[in-house]
Symmetry: C2
Subunit: 242 residues, 2 copies
DNA sequence: TCAAAAGTGTTCCTGTTACACCCATGC
DNA sequence: GCATGGGTGTAACAGGAACACTTTTGA
């Protein structure tokens, strides 16, 4: 029974014929990116199987000897070529009928990456990959729409309680760029002045001796987020909150 | 290979010889209870296998045709005899060496139950079950200590952002009882007067025409939490926060 | 009448909100 | 000079923290 399921799955995905991976468990990853288009998600098109041509979250199998976190990291690196990416587990999704060809539980992850770094590598489970705006998501395979919805809720919560939003921006950014990021993710409008005060008061940004270049307005100062400063502050009981 | 692993697991737990469950995936549940002793967790003692006599989280296998949420519900009902229990998934735990006899990923859950309701039912994977205070947890099997630690962090966050703490109290409770609950979970001291104001201002408690009885001091009013009121408020954009 | 907890009121202080306004730069 | 976004300042308000005080009940 289980063997049969595994064979079918392999037909579908066209991979993992050796016994080096766990069966009945997969990983699916919501990859968030941010640029002038706003918040986007990287989706892949299935290259083989009955759902060929349809879009879904990038995902894959877990090898026998790797942790689930490392499996997610590996899948992400294979697809994007990026290594030190912010990655966090969402939760497990396990409705019995979520996958039509057998009982497969999937563990959801979300990643935050800096768009400009990114060049698409043809992933082994995808014939194509494409960024989609957060509010223009098509119908996805399996339960991937609900995983995606869940990930957005999760991102909105997390981004307000931990300084993880910086992972979506270049190393050096202006305060307004940071504010636009929060506005986009949270879907709200913020006050420039109040945002500046709030974020600067936390003292976890490093003010650089550098300014924007080639902008048709007064050049803004660039700032940097320093994880070490944040770690020190949290040790002393500091809680990030926006 | 996988079959071998499964046989070993069965020896260990003394169950699931049919093929009606998924292999390589389990569920472990952190069950929180609250009474005059404070916040406690229900642990079970392994009845058979090499870890006999050691304590761990109650858990079990997922049947082929049930969702993971329902599997957790079922396990909880089998152990405690309770049915409508507040239950939430933590996340999946999947270090490759977390289970010594083979690769098994577990999905963690936490439950909030009202202690007085509770009578221990001999669970099929446990020879004994016992409540442990949150800060007197012994060494547990496998990675159960880290699952438990994670669940406490998670509870502390959740209890401040959603009105789930009520599940640990009787239907009717006084404001001070509620405050003591928060103090215990969050590990902080609160001001009686400020807490009253805050919680009453939310208008999600129903004031009953009833008072405490047989107390050797002024009897306090009893209140009730009404999920419907909360749902209506959240529709209007209300956010619970303590 | 005393202990213990219920319940009310008030003051101080901080952080947030909603603005108005000036500054620098490219076109 | 004007449009655009950068950056500063402030007054009004809301909410939280800290604390004092009165009330009710059983023993």
């Amino acid at each position: 029974m289980i063997y049969k399921v595994e064979k079918k799955i392999n037909k579908e995905s066209g991979k993992a014929t050796e016994r080096s991976v766990m069966n009945s468990i997969t990983i699916d990853c919501v990859i968030f990116g941010f640029n002038k288009n706003g918040l986007e998600v990287l989706l892949v098109q299935h290259g083989v199987g009955i759902r060929k041509g349809e879009w879904g979250l990038p995902g894959g199998w877990i090898r026998e000897k790797e942790s689930i976190d490392n499996a997610a990291k590996r899948l992400l690196a294979d697809l994007t070529g990026l290594n030190n990416v912010y990655l966090e587990q969402l939760k497990a999704f396990g409705k019995p009928d979520r996958f039509p060809l057998g009982r497969v539980i999937t563990i959801g992850y979300f990643a935050l990456i800096m768009r400009d770094d990114y060049t698409i590598q043809p992933g082994f489970t995808a014939s194509d990959a494409k960024w989609y705006k957060i509010n223009e998501i098509p119908n996805l395979i399996y339960d991937h729409n609900s995983i995606l919805d869940y990930s957005i809720d999760c991102l909105r919560n997390r981004v307000r309680q931990a300084p993880i939003g910086f992972n979506l921006l270049p190393d050096k950014f202006t305060l307004l760029e940071l504010m636009r990021l929060y506005e986009e993710i949270l879907g709200i409008e913020m006050d420039k002045s109040n945002f500046r005060r709030k974020i600067l008061k936390m003292k976890l940004l490093v003010e650089l001796n550098e300014k924007q270049k080639k902008v048709s307005h007064r050049a803004a100062k660039l700032y940097e987020f320093d994880q070490k400063i944040y770690d020190k502050l949290t040790e002393k009981g500091f809680n990030f909150e926006i």
